[in-house]
Amino acid sequence: MDIVVRTVGLTRRYKMGDAFVDALRGVDLTIARGEFVALVGPSGSGKSTVLNLIGGLDRPTSGQVWINGTELSASDERTLTRHRRQQVGFVFQSFNLLPRLTAEENVALPLMFSGVPEKERQARARALLERVGLGPRLTHRPTQLSGGEQQRVAIARALVGQPALLLADEPTGNLDTAIGAEIMALLKELNQERGLTLLVVTHDPEVAAFADRIVRLRDGRVQEGGGRP
C-alpha cells in the first residue's frame, strides 16, 4: 500500500497561562494514497491539531509526522515551507480568501510563491475554476461570491499546486446543509477522478458520511483505528 501520511506517537502540549493542556496524547494515523478520510470527534478532541501538524503549520511536542517518506517534525522552516507549497493544500472553514484579489488571482496566489510564470499561473487557475464550476466568475472578488462559491475558490486554490494531500478543516462549517453537501460532493468527485488523498476534519456525521474511512478522536487519542461509514 502506498502511504501518504503516517504519524507515530504524535503528542502536542500547549501552554495556557500557567497550566499545560495536552491536545494530543499519542496519535498513530496512516492514510494511503487516494484515501478519503474523515477525522471526527467532539470539539477539543484535537482534530484540528492533527490536521495542522500534518499540514506543517505546527510542530509536535513529540512523535513523528511522515509525509511521502519525509519526516516533518525535525525539519527546518525551509523544508516546512516547501512541504506546504508542494505536498498539501488547505481548505479552511472560513475560506480565508484574500478580499482584494479576484477569484482567479486567489487561486493563482500559491503559484506566485513557487515561481510559476504568470501565464501558466493564469491558465492553471482558470482550468481549476472551470472544474469547480466557477468558469463565469473568474474576475469576481470574494465579497461578490456566495459562501459556497467562496469555498469552491478555496478548493481550487488548495489544488492549484497539485498537492499529494488535501487538508480540509470543517469545510462546510460556514455553509448551510444543502451547499455543504454540494461542497462535499465536489470533494468526493475530485477524490475519485484525480485519486486525490483527502483528510477532512468535521464534527458533522453527514459530512463524515462522504468519506471512505472515519477516524474518531477523543481526548487526544484515536478511539477506533478506522471504520467504514
Binding site: N52, E77, R85, S114
Partner: protein, 420 residues
C-alpha cells in the same frame, strides 16, 4: 516569486490604504525636499562661484603690502607699511618668465569726498578701479562700454562715467558726452579744494561712479594726503600678477610669502569659499537628515500597523506556501516604495522650490538695484543629486521596513490564521 510579482503585490497593498501611504511618505518628502533644496543651493552657489573665480582667472595673484601690527600707539589712522610694493618690485616681477602681466593698483581711501562737475552740475561720486583685466572680484559683471571706450590702466587725463550715474543726472545722450570736459572736485578736511580736469572717453554700464587711469588715481591720492612722493613712501596699494598657469601661481605665491608679502591667490579665495559652502551644506543637510529620521519612524509605524492588520493574511500566505523570506521581501519593498514615493515628491518639490527661490532672489536683486549676472542659478539640481535623493529616500524606507518585515516573516502561521 519574481521581482515583478513583488513590486506588483507591494504596490497593490499600498494602493489599499492610499491616504496612509501618502501621509507616511509626506515625512520623507519633507526631509528630501529640505536636503535637495539645501544641496542644490550649495551646488548652485558653488557653480556660480567657480564660474566667477574662473573669469577672474585662477592663475592670478594679488599682492598687498605688509602693515605694522596694530597696537595702542597706532590704532588710529592707517597703520604704517613695513613692506612696500615698489615700482622696482613690479619690474622684478615682470622680468620673471612665468609672469604674464603685472597691474599696479591704487585704492582711494573711503574718507575721500569726490564730486563730479558737468556743465555746472555737481554730484558726489565714487572712483572705481580701471578693471582693464576684466572683473577682479567674484559676482561682478564685466564692464562694457555703452558709448566711447573703456579706460585703460595708463590713461592720463581721461575718465569714463557710468550709466547709473548719468541716469541719476537725467543725461541720456551718451554719445554727446564723449570728448566733453568735466572736473573732479576734491575737498580736503584741511580746507583746500582742487578741481582736476578730465576728458570723457566713454560711458560704461554697471556700478555708479567714474573710472580713472592709474596715474590719475595716484595724483588724486597724492593731493589728498598732501604727499607728492606718495609712491615712494607708500608704494602701490596692490599688485595684480597674472601668471602663465595655476601651478606657476602657486609656486610664485610661496616665493612671495617667503619674502614677507601678503599674497592672496584666487585659488585660495575659491578654496576658502568652497570650505564655507561645504560647512553650510553639512549644516543644512543635517536638518533634512533629522527630518528623514523622523520620517523613517513614521514609515516603521505604518508598516508595524500594516503587519498587525494583515496578520491573518500573512497566515494564509504562509499556509499556501509563502516562505518567510518572501513575506519579508514584500513588506520591505512596500516600505521602500513609501520612501521612494516620498523621495520623488520631495525631489520635485525641492526643484520647484529652487526655481521659485531663484526667481525671488533675482527679483530682490533687481529691486535692490544690484547688477544681476546673466543666467544666474543659485539652485542647481544635477542628475547625481536627483539620483542620490531618490536612492537615499528608498534606503530610508527600506531600513524603516526591516523590523516590521522581520516581524511579519517570523509570525507563527497557526497563530496568524487564528488572528481576527
Amino acid at each position: 516569486m519574481t521581482w515583478r510579482d513583488l513590486f506588483k503585490t507591494a504596490l497593490s497593498n499600498l494602493g489599499r490604504h492610499k491616504v496612509r501611504t501618502v501621509l507616511s511618505s509626506v515625512g520623507v518628502a519633507v526631509g528630501i525636499l529640505t536636503m535637495v533644496t539645501m544641496l542644490s543651493l550649495g551646488v548652485g552657489v558653488q557653480r556660480e562661484m567657480i564660474r566667477n573665480f574662473q573669469s577672474i582667472g585662477l592663475e592670478t595673484l594679488t599682492l598687498r603690502p605688509k602693515f605694522e601690527e596694530r597696537s595702542l600707539f597706532n590704532q588710529f589712522g592707517e597703520p604704517r607699511r613695513t613692506k612696500l610694493l615698489t615700482p622696482t618690485l613690479a619690474d622684478e616681477l615682470r622680468a620673471r618668465p612665468e609672469v604674464v602681466k603685472v597691474t599696479p593698483r591704487i585704492y582711494l581711501p573711503n574718507s575721500m569726498r569726490i564730486s563730479l562737475r558737468i556743465d555746472g552740475h555737481e554730484v558726489s561720486i565714487w572712483v572705481w578701479d580701471t578693471d582693464d583685466e576684466g572683473p577682479t572680484e567674484p559676482f561682478s559683471s564685466p564692464v562694457e562700454a555703452v558709448a566711447g571706450r573703456t579706460i585703460e590702466s595708463d590713461d592720463p587725463g581721461h575718465i569714463t562715467l557710468s550709466t547709473d550715474l548719468l541716469e541719476e543726472m537725467d543725461i541720456d545722450d551718451y554719445q554727446a558726452l564723449i570728448g566733453q570736459e568735466v572736473e573732479l572736485v576734491l575737498r580736503a578736511p584741511r580746507g583746500d579744494t582742487v578741481a582736476f580736469p578730465f576728458t570723457v572717453v566713454g560711458v560704461l554700464n554697471g556700478r555708479r561712479g567714474v573710472r580713472l587711469g592709474f596715474s590719475d588715481q595716484l595724483a588724486l591720492k597724492s593731493w589728498w594726503y598732501n604727499d607728492p612722493k606718495l609712491l615712494e613712501t607708500q608704494g602701490y596699494d596692490a599688485l595684480t600678477v597674472r601668471t602663465t598657469s595655476l601651478s606657476a601661481a602657486t609656486r610664485l605665491l610661496g616665493d612671495l610669502e617667503e619674502q614677507g608679502f601678503e599674497v592672496r591667490s584666487t585659488k585660495m579665495m575659491l578654496d576658502m569659499a568652497n570650505r564655507g559652502i561645504l560647512i553650510m551644506q553639512a549644516m543644512l543637510g543635517s536638518v533634512g537628515l533629522v527630518a528623514l529620521l523622523v520620517a523613517s519612524l513614521g514609515i516603521a509605524n505604518t508598516m508595524i500597523m500594516a503587519v498587525y492588520e494583515r496578520t491573518k493574511e500573512i497566515g494564509v500566505l504562509k499556509a499556501v506556501g509563502a516562505a518567510p523570506r518572501q513575506i519579508r521581501g514584500l513588506f520591505i519593498i512596500e516600505a521602500a516604495l513609501i520612501g521612494l514615493i516620498g523621495g520623488v515628491a520631495g525631489t520635485v518639490g525641492g526643484w520647484l522650490l529652487g526655481l521659485g527661490l531663484n526667481r525671488l532672489i533675482v527679483v530682490i536683486m533687481a529691486w535692490q538695484e544690484l547688477t544681476i549676472p546673466q543666467n544666474i542659478h543659485f539652485f542647481a539640481l544635477s542628475w547625481w543629486l536627483v539620483a542620490l535623493a531618490l536612492a537615499f529616500a528608498t534606503v530610508v524606507g527600506l531600513l524603516a521596513g526591516l523590523y516590521p518585515a522581520a516581524r511579519a516573516a517570523r509570525l507563527d502561521p497557526l497563530e496568524a490564521l487564528r488572528h481576527e
